[in-house]
C-alpha cells in the first residue's frame, strides 16, 4: 500500500512515525517500507487475521455494564508504534530513578516522615490522603521496598519529549496485553521481524518471578509464590491467569487462603494446607483483609494484614504503597527525586495545578475550558473533565466539585498527545492519539520493560485511551536498527 505520507496529516501533533515534513522517522523506516510494499487487500487480510488470532487466543477484557459484565475481545491496531533504542535507554533510566525515589518516599512516610519534617511536602497532604494507611506505620517490608510493580503512564507532547502523566503503584494492569500484542504482531507481520532489529519483550514474567522470589520471608530455595485475584469478574482476570501461568505459580482467590493463629498464611491444597511465602496481590488494599479493612469483603483473607505486619508473608505491592500515586503527591515527585536521590529528574512531570492551593485553584476555575481536571484518587479515566471537549454545564459541575473538596482535585494543561498512523475504515491510515505504559519492577534489582503497553484512542480526535472507554492498543517496538 503506497501511502502518500505528505498527505498524512497529524494536524500539528508530534507523530511517532512520520515527521512534520511527511518524512519517515528512522526507527520506523523498515516498517513503513514493508507496509508500502503490501497491497491494500493484503493489509486488510492481515487485519482480519489479527482479529481472528485475538479471538482464538482468547485475549479479552471484562467491561462492566448495566446488564452485568461482558467479556470483550481486545481492540488492537496492527500498525506498531516505534521508538528508538537510544531514546528508550534514557527513558528507562528515568523510570528506574523515579520508582527508587518513590519507594524511599513511601518508606519514609511510614517511619520518620523526615520529608514532612523538612517541609518539602505539606504534612496535611499526606495525612489527609485516603491512601495513607495508619496500619502500615512502623512496618518494614522486605528490602524496604513498598511498590514492587509500577505502571507509569508516559505521554509525548508536541515537543517530542516524554512526560510522566501518572504513576500507578497500587495494582497496575496491562502488562499481559503488552506481551500478547507482540505475540499477535509476530503472527500477523512476521516478515518485519526478519528485517528489523526489534528488541524482545518476553523476559518480563521471568523478571517478575525473580523479583517476587527475592521478597520471601523464609530463606528457602523454592519459596511458594501465588497470584491473588479477586476472581473471574474482575476486568483484569485475563491478566491474572496469564501471569500465574507464565510464572508457573498458583492463581488463588481469597477463599483458597487461610491465616493460622501463628499468623502464617496457607493455601488449601489436595494434600492439606501448604505455607505461602509471597503473594502478588491484585486486590485493592481495602479488600485485602476483612479483619482490618472492609468488614464484609469476601475477596480478601481474614488475618492477612497481621501476617504481613509480622513479616510472615510478603505482599506485592505492599499495603499503603498507593499513598504515592495520589495525583496531588504526583505534583511533588520531582522534589521527591531531588530530596532522596540528590539527582535531577530524568523524565519531566506534566505541569500540574493543585486545587488545594488558593492561587492555583483560582487559575483552574478560570480556565476550566482549557484544562484537564482529575480527581486525586481515581483510576481508569473515570471522573475526569477534559476541558476543551466539555460543555458549560459540565464545567459548572466541576467548579462546584472543586470548591467543595479542593484537596481531591488537580488540573493539567490539555496535552498535545502524540499520534501514530492507525488503520481505520477502508484500509486508510489516519493519526490517532496514544500514550505508553511501561512497567517497572523493584526488588533486589530494578527492571524496566522494553517499551510497554501503547494505548490508542481509536476515535478520531479523542484523547481517552482507556480500554474501558473505547481505547485500543498497538504493539510497541524499541528499534535498534541503524544504531552503533
Amino acid at each position: 500500500m503506497t501511502m502518500d505520507w505528505k498527505a498524512y496529516d497529524p494536524n500539528g501533533y508530534f507523530d511517532e512515525l512520520i515527521d512534520a515534513k511527511g518524512g519517515v522517522r528512522p526507527p520506523a523506516r523498515q516498517l513503513i517500507q514493508c507496509l508500502d510494499s503490501l497491497p491494500p487487500e493484503e493489509i486488510e487480510s492481515r487485519r482480519q487475521m489479527a482479529e481472528a488470532t485475538i479471538q482464538e487466543m482468547g485475549v479479552s477484557f471484562t467491561v462492566y455494564t448495566g446488564e452485568g459484565t461482558i467479556d470483550r475481545a481486545w481492540p488492537f491496531d496492527i500498525i506498531p508504534r516505534t521508538i528508538s533504542a537510544s531514546q528508550w535507554r534514557t527513558t528507562a533510566a528515568g523510570l528506574e530513578q523515579r520508582l527508587k525515589a518513590l519507594n524511599l518516599f513511601i518508606n519514609d512516610l511510614y517511619h520518620d516522615q523526615q520529608i514532612l519534617k523538612d517541609g518539602i511536602i505539606p504534612s496535611e497532604i499526606i495525612l489527609e490522603s485516603k491512601n495513607f494507611r495508619p496500619e502500615c506505620v512502623g512496618i518494614s517490608p522486605p528490602l524496604n521496598v513498598w511498590a514492587h510493580i509500577c505502571g507509569t503512564d508516559l505521554v509525548r507532547d508536541g515537543d517530542g519529549e516524554f512526560y510522566v502523566l501518572e504513576d500507578n503503584l497500587r495494582v497496575p494492569s496491562g502488562v499481559s496485553y503488552m506481551l500478547e500484542n507482540r505475540a499477535i504482531t509476530k503472527r500477523v507481520l512476521p516478515e518485519l521481524f526478519e528485517q528489523d532489529d526489534i528488541l524482545p519483550v518476553t523476559d518480563y514474567c521471568a523478571q517478575l518471578f525473580d523479583m517476587l522470589k527475592s521478597l520471601s520471608p523464609r530463606d528457602v530455595r523454592k519459596p511458594v509464590i501465588v497470584v491473588l485475584t479477586p476472581g473471574i469478574f474482575n476486568s483484569a482476570y485475563f491478566e491474572h491467569t496469564f501471569l500465574a501461568q507464565q510464572m508457573g505459580v498458583e492463581l488463588v482467590e481469597g477463599s483458597d487462603l487461610v491465616v493460622d493463629e501463628k499468623d502464617c498464611v496457607y493455601m488449601r491444597t489436595i494434600s492439606g494446607l501448604e505455607r505461602v511465602d509471597v503473594i502478588y496481590r491484585r486486590i485493592d488494599d481495602l479488600f485485602l483483609d476483612p479483619e482490618v479493612f472492609e468488614k464484609d469483603s469476601v475477596l480478601g483473607v481474614p488475618g492477612l494484614m497481621r501476617a504481613w505486619q509480622k513479616g510472615k508473608v510478603a505482599l506485592a505491592n505492599a499495603p499503603g504503597a498507593g499513598v504515592a500515586d495520589d495525583k496531588v503527591v504526583y505534583a511533588y515527585v520531582p522534589e521527591i527525586i531531588r530530596y532522596y536521590l540528590n539527582e535531577e529528574p530524568i523524565i519531566k512531570n506534566v505541569e500540574t495545578y493543585l486545587c488545594d492551593d488558593p492561587e492555583q485553584r483560582a487559575y483552574v476555575l478560570e480556565n476550566l475550558d482549557k484544562l484537564v481536571v482529575k480527581p486525586a484518587n481515581e483510576s481508569g479515566g473515570y471522573g475526569m473533565l477534559v476541558g476543551p471537549h466539555s460543555t458549560k454545564k459540565e464545567q459548572a459541575q466541576f467548579a462546584k466539585l472543586i470548591q467543595d473538596n479542593p484537596r481531591n482535585y488537580i488540573a493539567q494543561p490539555t496535552l498535545a498527545l502524540s499520534t501514530a498512523p492507525t488503520l481505520v475504515e477502508q484500509g486508510r491510515l489516519e493519526p490517532r492519539h496514544l500514550d505508553l505504559r511501561p512497567f517497572i519492577l523493584q526488588g533486589k534489582e530494578t527492571y524496566v520493560t522494553t517499551g510497554g503497553l501503547t494505548r490508542v484512542a481509536m476515535k478520531k480526535g479523542s484523547l481517552v485511551v482507556n480500554s474501558s472507554q473505547g481505547g485500543g492498543s498497538k504493539d510497541t517496538w524499541i528499534v535498534a536498527s541503524g544504531e552503533e
Binding site: E56, I232, T241, A244, Q245, E250, E253, T269
Partner: protein, 308 residues
Amino acid sequence: MLSKVAERLYWAARYLERVENTARLVGVYDKLLFDLPRDVNISWYSLVELNSATGPFEERYQVRSEHNVVKFMLADDTNPSSMLTALSMLRENIRTSRDVLPVESWEHINELYLYAQNNIRLGINRSQRHEFLDQIVCRCQMFFGMLSGTMSHDAPWQFVKLGRDLERADMTTRILDAGAAALQQANGDSSVNLRQVVWGNVLRSASAYMSYRRSVRLSVAGPDVAWYLLQDPNFPRSVAACLTQLKISAGKLPHSKALVDEVKEIDLERYQIETDADLGRDFRSYLNDLQIQICQLSNRIAQTWFPA
C-alpha cells in the same frame, strides 16, 4: 495443588468427555437413519429419556421430533447437559484453570468453541450432521491429545484423567442404553438384521467396531457388544477399562484409599447377559444402577479432594 484448581480440572475433563460423547450418542441414532428400512421408526425421544432430561425437554417442546430432540441435545441452553452447555462449561473451567494448563489449551478450546457455535446448524439439520459430529469428536480428541502430550503427568493431570474416565464410563453406559432403547422402541420388527444394524452402530459410535471385531472375533451380536463395552479390559472406552484407569489415577494422589475401595466394589458381572432377551428392560435398569454407582464415585472424589 489447590483443591479448587483440582476441582476445575476434574470438571473440565468431565465436560470435555461429555461434549465428545454427546456427539457420539446423537451419532448412534444418526447412523441408524442410513441403515434402517424406511418403515422402521426409531424414537429420537429415547435420547432424551436415557439422559434423564425429559423434564427440561417437555418444558421447551411439544413435539418429540427428530429436529427438536437433536436441537435439545446439541444446542439448547435450557438443557443443562446439551453439547453446547457442556462446551461453555468446559470453556469456563479452562479459562479459570489456565494457570495450570499448557499455554495452547485456551486457544485450542476457543477454536473448538467457536467451531461448534458457528456450525451448530450443521448438527441440527440432517444433511451434514454426520460431518459436524465427526468434527466435534475429532477436535475433542485433539484437545485431549494435546493435554496428554504436553502436560506434566503430575497431580493436575491425574485429576484430568479422573474426570475423563469417570464421565466416559458413565457415557458408555448411555451409549449402550441408546442401542437397547432403539430396539425396544422398534419392537415387533426386531429381526436379526435390525439388531445387527443397531449394535453395529453402537460399536461404531464408540469407535469400537474394529477393535471389537479383532478381539471378540465373532459377528456383531447384542450380548457380545454389551459384554465388550462393559467388561473388556483393554478397550479404553469400556466401563471396566475406565474403572481400572480410575484406580490408577487415584493411586497417584494422596488420601485415595476410600475411592479405590469404592471402585473395587462395582461388580460388572452382577448382571448376566446370555441372549438378546437379556438386553431389555432389566438390562436398562442395570445400566441405570451403574450410573448411580458412578455418580457416588464422583461424590467420593469431591469429598476427598475438594471439601467445601
